[in-house]
């Protein structure tokens, strides 16, 4: 499917708006704390031990 330039621009704006809303929603739910908890401790699965 080939998108015209104006249609692509509309999609880009819509996706960026959706992305911003999702990030705000995620922070509001405290997801970044879950990310930090996982990333700041040794992830046994990631290193092949879990």
């Amino acid at each position: 499917m080939k998108l015209s330039t104006p249609k692509r621009a509309i999609l880009q704006c819509a996706f960026l708006l959706a992305a911003a809303l999702m990030i705000v929603c995620g922070i509001n739910r405290g997801e970044q704390e879950t990310v930090w908890n996982k990333a700041a401790n040794i992830c046994l699965e990631c290193i092949g031990l879990g």
Partner: protein, 287 residues
């Protein structure tokens, strides 16, 4: 400075930025500061002692597999924003594991192309190992495992598994089948990367799959001036990702490395955020 040198310098700078805690390698400890709540645009294991940021694929699975959540708005929103802005430019210019594979590809050997069918495997991995399994394969507490990290990710084995097991004798005693499987995948990836340009990016990387889909709408893109193109085919022959930029400038496989634009004898290909070819831009500047 030509495009290839500029790209390599940016790749090295990005590698350095994502690995600022290099001193942690000796002690085998992780950086635990607040930067770890933010995701890296490229694939880089957060269990790497030097890692500054969180791996987005690992983070997505960790949130979706946690007891509180089944979906990560935070990580998906981040990937959507980065993907819409840059597409697979991230793969070509920022991803640390992409740089590692390119260095292995520099080893002199016979170079091969992969059948196109292999490039679809990464979408299956994204759906099954990153999206479905962490949410569905849960334990009695409702917690899922990061299946991609657990069974596949060679970046995690290289940057996390090897340094951590090397510095922690107690971890070495727990290595078993899984560690062997992941070492095997890492070895396969390294050997394949010597012969096939970015073997992992082409076939297995779920992050490349996400950014590849967003290449279709990304603001940073390749633009081809069809009126200036003389159909010499030099761009397609130059492309190590096996893309023909003239027929498919928004291919999901294009990592926006810019090699095609540099190779074009008519400056008909442009890489950037604006529309229009380099030649058109020069024409406007001169008039």
């Amino acid at each position: 400075m030509n495009n290839a040198v500029r790209r390599k310098l940016i790749q090295l700078a990005a590698f350095g930025f994502t690995n600022t805690h290099i001193g942690n390698f000796a002690a085998g400890k992780l950086y635990t500061g607040k930067w770890k709540q933010f995701c890296n645009p490229g694939l880089h294991c957060y269990s790497c002692p030097a890692a500054t940021l969180a791996c987005p694929i690992g983070a997505m699975q960790a949130v979706a597999g946690s007891m509180q959540f089944n979906f990560s708005f935070y990580v998906v929103g981040f990937l959507l924003a980065v993907g819409v802005l840059l597409g697979r430019f991230v793969c070509g210019w920022i991803c640390p594991f992409g740089l590692v594979q390119e260095l292995f590809y520099k080893i002199p050997s016979h170079k091969c192309k992969l059948p196109k069918l292999f490039t679809y495997v990464k979408y299956g991995i994204l759906i099954l190992f990153v999206i479905v399994l962490p949410v569905t394969a849960t334990n009695y507490m409702g917690m899922g495992q990061p299946a991609f990290c657990q069974y596949i990710c060679p970046s995690g084995t290289l940057f996390g598994g090897i340094p951590m097991t090397a510095t922690h004798p107690e971890l070495r005693t727990t290595t078993g089948f899984l560690f062997g499987l992941k070492m095997g995948i890492l070895l396969l990836t390294i050997i394949a990367s010597v012969f096939v340009f970015r073997f992992f990016c082409k076939t297995l990387c779920p992050l490349g799959a996400i950014y590849g889909l967003l290449n279709k709408v990304s603001i940073h893109h390749l633009d081809v001036d069809k009126s200036a193109c003389i159909q010499c085919g030099k761009c397609a022959r130059t492309c190590k990702m096996d893309v023909n930029p003239v027929t498919s400038p928004r291919s999901a496989e294009c990592i926006r490395c810019g090699a095609c634009a540099a190779a074009c004898p008519k400056q008909a290909i442009r890489l950037g955020f604006r529309n229009g070819s380099k030649k058109e831009e020069h024409h406007h500047e001169n008039t």
